[in-house]
Symmetry: C2
Subunit: 226 residues, 2 copies
DNA sequence: AGCTAGCCTGACTCATCAGTAAATATAACT
DNA sequence: AGTTATATTTACTGATGAGTCAGGCTAGCT
């Protein structure tokens, strides 16, 4: 990694150099997180050793500890990214002026985008038990809030008539299940793009599987629209 | 060795004793599996030691090895139970004479029942990587078949008009996601019964979240499509 | 009683990692 | 050049946990 910084590190202020260093450090930290998250996702947290992560990055294990103080902190960072995505979606939904159903879909789309992103796809999500106790409490509380907000969004939709009568709690678990399970099967190399998946899932969430109208429509017209 | 040919033809006593022993053994094996599955589900496979399982049962670790040759075999058994449930559901669906949508719901209900049962709720499902290589191949292949059958069921429904136009592959992942995520949040002590959950989820799968007809619910009559 | 066979246990072995210490390389600035 | 701060490595430690072994207990048979 002979990163030639000759471009910007000429005569200028020592401040610049310090900035570059910080920037480098930030990038490296993110690289570690990205690789670790990916490995955790594929093989599971417990099945991934720090040596594994290090070897993918082409460095030695102690280097990782330069950027994360422990393996658990790495896991915690994964959780934070996922929760950030959830909260970002909620913020987007709150900002949108529309029905509860619209808000819900906006939220879930944003959340899914996060999941499809390199960093966000954490089946590690399930692995709350591997966190340090204090981190776990933190994560559980934050996820509870996100989950409650999802429920509220649905309750709102039921109230404004955009969502049919249902138990908002169960409906939120339904919706989040669909989304949270994505990392369990999605592969970059798969046949469907994230956009296709988000589109299909949003449609299925909204309208379900049942055919729109007639019970036995023999005439099958090619509907080229979703 | 010592295959007593007199077992069944002689006095009743020896046969009975042997039977009782086998029966005992079977029950104990099942108890081990149940406890292990429960522990794996709550704390994760890797976070559960054989000593943990043993102590819950009030026996010592080597005893477990009397019934399962390794921890991985225990995990494999969990997977098998889950897959048995899936296949049982598929068989039920195949036996039912109705639309593709009906078959799909019958299948998923049965599958969910398995998940709610003591033994079947395996978030361990995700942990394919902790299996022995040969077991893993087996599990992956079998799950692929189940997954393909689910897709076929949906394709059938699309063909017979009971299911709206959609990509059967994505729709199956959608449906299985909802179901497979259940173990991640369901607790016996929770407010909802398995029946309520199955009912709600089946309804949501079929009709989605959107309110049935008009934005202002007047009367749900024939829906005209634009 | 005495023998046999299966079941169970305490006390090990051995491998795998998370995390650390000390030494070495690299860059940044004077 | 020398000096300092940072980055990275090799080589360890210590803990945890899967799986084993040799002996002991108990139930059933003769």
């Amino acid at each position: 990694m002979s990163d030639t910084p000759s471009a910007a590190t000429r005569a200028p202020a020592p401040g610049r150099a310090a900035f570059d260093r910080d920037e480098q450090r930030r990038r490296k930290r993110e690289a570690v997180l990205r690789v670790a998250a990916s490995a955790f996702n594929r093989r599971g947290f417990a099945n991934t050793s720090m040596d594994d992560v290090a070897s993918v990055l082409g460095v030695s294990k102690p280097t990782l500890y330069q950027y994360f103080k422990s393996k658990q902190e790495l896991l915690y960072a994964c959780h934070q990214v996922a929760m950030d995505n959830g909260e970002a979606g909620l913020a987007l939904a709150a900002a949108h002026d529309g029905t509860g159903l619209e808000k819900l879909i906006i939220y879930l789309r944003r959340y899914m985008e996060g999941i499809f992103g390199d960093l966000g796809n954490c089946p590690v999500l399930t692995d709350v038990d591997s966190l340090a106790p204090e981190d776990r409490a933190n994560v559980v509380a934050r996820r509870k809030r996100i989950s409650a907000a999802t429920k509220e969004l649905i309750a709102l939709g039921v109230a404004d008539g955009s969502i049919g009568p249902c138990d908002p709690k169960l409906a939120s678990l339904f919706a989040l299940g669909v989304v949270n399970w994505i990392p369990a099967w999605y592969r970059d190399s798969g046949p469907n793009t994230p956009e296709e998946i988000m589109e299909s899932f949003a449609a299925l969430l909204i309208s379900g599987l049942a055919a729109p109208a007639s019970p036995k429509p023999t005439r099958k017209r090619a509907k080229s629209q979703a």
